[in-house]
Amino acid sequence: MTVQELPGAAAYRPTPPPAWKPLTDPAPLLPDPEPFRVLGTDAAAGVDPELLLRLYAELVRGRRYNAQATALTKQGRLAVYPSSTGQEACEIAAALVLEDRDWLFPSYRDTLAAVARGLDPVEALTLLRGDRHTGYDPREHRIAPLCTPLATQLPHAVGLAHAARLKGDDVVALAMVGDGGTSEGDFHEALNFAAVWRAPVVFLVQNNGFAISVPLAKQTAAPSLAHKAVGYGMPGRLVDGNDAAAVHQVLSEAVARARRGEGPTLVEAVTYRMEAHTNADDATRYRGDGDVEAWRAHDPIRLLERELTGRGLLDEDGIGTVREAAERMAEGLREQMNADPVLDPMDLFAHVYEEQTGQLREQAARLRGELEAEQESGAEEGR
């Protein structure tokens, strides 16, 4: 596909961004010091039961996905997996608040958000399996490639949202980043651009307590990460990242605000990373089991389950049905991941440029020759 063929490219008419009025009163920008909560409060009664049940089913499925993917690393089916167990409420809410036309900009940990948005569970794992960098067409799903360099996807989200706005499209971009990622220069530049351009972007920081081994206290001296929004001129919101209803509500408001043309929002979801950074990491080196146990009582699935059963919206049968569906998903994932991916080494040269350079054609020919010789000599593939 060339640039000219991109959907909407012909109709592209740049329009200037809306005029910027500096905000004189910073008060509305400051986050409440207490993370916003819904579950277990009176506000919970006002939430659509359908939504709560949907969130619940997705959380359970998400957790099962995390467990299955982690198990696949042990069988060598995945090179690595950064689990989001404990953070499912953030992942699921991020996916569910977006319309089809909106865009998601996930980090490497956000496989679950991509799957909840509708991405095929296996396609979402190709990066971590190691057969291709991005196993899906970002444009088809409106999910940017899972991003490994930290915070570098944030300016992309700003640019995309800005471009959509210039085109007159009603599109919002939601970009996800970890607490550690907020220290990168790209994070700050993205926030500044977004605010100055009043781009329709929502930044979701999953503050899960650690950047690999480094605790939040060594990452920032700010009262909260949400406070960082204020200096750029956008509102910062603090939410309980384990309360799926609360994350959903805060993100929905931020998305609506962006859609109304009122600019970006920074949302900090306070959560906890229950597993190690990845399966390759040893979390006992930097934290005690006690910390993890303390967070178990505040588990996102448990919180929601308590709410739903307490209100008679869910019973043992209902829970069983949800778990069964999650089990079936895991089974399917296991089955598909246990099949070796079919790889064509010639793909190495297929997507470097639109048209292969002579140099690459030469190198491709050399590799083809090597592969043929390998086959002829009956040599086993893969030394």
Binding site: A79, L127, P149, D281, R285, F349, L360, R383
Partner: protein
């Protein structure tokens, strides 16, 4: 640059198997013990001991101020190191992986590399930037780049890469002792390579910038460094079956470049192949081949050949073996050194 630093330290131990990662850690420790101005900083270098455990134990032994877990910001880490060095400290910075050093390029290229020159020699920056680099460990995207060509194209930086356990120790100590900035590239896939080595009686190390002949030979020279050294040594052994007696030169640093050792070898053998895993086009091999040609033209029996990674973004781990130059590709190049037959 002093060689004294390399041999300082207590000498009590006997040789036993040590990994390259352990030797690097020991070099950091000994440098910190010998010089209170040496500071280590980076992501996860403290409590965790680095993701490859190279800095393990340093924070415990020397305190958080000497081995510091920084906020997660490479430009900030290296930029802060510039200021620390301006004030008389000797920072050793860890970049977690090759591709995560890129946010720090502005600091590296505009400041670290140029401060001595900009200040007419008044303010040299003794900074060591350690970068775990290269592929072959099955890492996902952005964890396997070979970035040496970017660094060597930037005047003002030393670019050093050990390939053996002994050199990991000695060259890192030399780098830290250097008053010039050093980009110290640690071949990830050799982190767990072992040698019988005594940390307390390290082999004396030559100053940065001397190449060594790792295997003497008569019929052609393999010029290599870092992760490709074991590949070349294996190829040299295999080539004996074809009647080739290959010499293997380990450059150990790209900047400074040891023209003498390399040229002397090629003049003896009359043929040369440069082997590295970073992309060939615009890569180190082009520069090396040109230098060899300039110095050895009349001794050459064949053009200087290059064996390099393909000119593609580093592939996904399941495909990396097709990209990385292995023994067969080296042997193929050696066969092509029979120039008369081909032309």
């Amino acid at each position: 640059m002093s060689t004294a630093a390399a041999t300082a330290g207590v000498r009590t131990g006997r040789a036993r198997p040590a990994t390259m990662a352990q030797a690097l850690g020991r070099a950091l420790r000994d440098s910190m013990a010998a010089d209170p101005t040496v500071h280590v900083l980076g992501e996860d270098v403290g409590t965790l001991g680095g993701v490859f455990r190279v800095t393990d134990g340093l924070a415990k032994e020397f305190g958080d101020d000497r081995c510091t877990d920084t906020p997660l910001a490479e430009a900030g880490i290296l930029g802060a190191a510039v200021g620390m060095a301006m004030y008389g400290l000797r920072p050793v910075v860890e970049m977690q992986f090759d591709a995560f050093a890129y946010p720090a390029f502005e600091q590296l290229i505009s400041h670290v590399a140029k401060m001595r020159n900009r200040t007419a020699g008044a303010m040299p920056l003794p900074i060591t930037v350690r970068v775990p680099y290269g592929g072959g460990i099955g890492g996902v995207e952005h964890h396997s780049d070979s970035s040496e060509a970017y660094y060597m194209a930037t005047p003002g930086l030393h670019v050093v890469m050990p390939a053996t356990v002994e050199d990991a120790y000695g060259l890192l100590r030399e780098s830290i002792a250097s008053d010039d900035p050093v980009v110290f590239l640690e071949p990830k896939r050799l982190y767990w390579s072992k040698a019988d080595w005594s940390p307390d009686a390290p082999a004396p190390v030559e100053p940065i910038g001397r190449a060594v002949v790792r295997r003497p030979g008569r019929s052609a020279t393999l010029i290599t460094y870092g992760p490709s050294l074991p590949v070349c040594l294996e190829a040299a052994e295999a080539a004996t079956a074809e009647g080739w007696d290959l010499e293997v030169v380990d450059l150990r640093s790209l900047v400074p470049f040891d023209d003498e050792t390399v040229a002397a070898s090629v003049r003896r053998t009359g043929r040369a192949v440069v082997v590295h895993e970073s992309s060939g086009f615009g890569g180190p091999g082009g520069e090396i081949a040109a230098r060899v040609t300039e110095r050895c033209f009349h001794h050459l029996e064949a053009p200087v050949l290059r064996v390099a990674g393909f000119d593609i973004p580093y592939p996904p781990p399941m495909q990396e073996r097709h990209h990385l130059p292995g023994v067969d590709r080296v042997l193929d190049a050696v066969a092509r050194l029979q120039w008369e037959a081909e032309s």
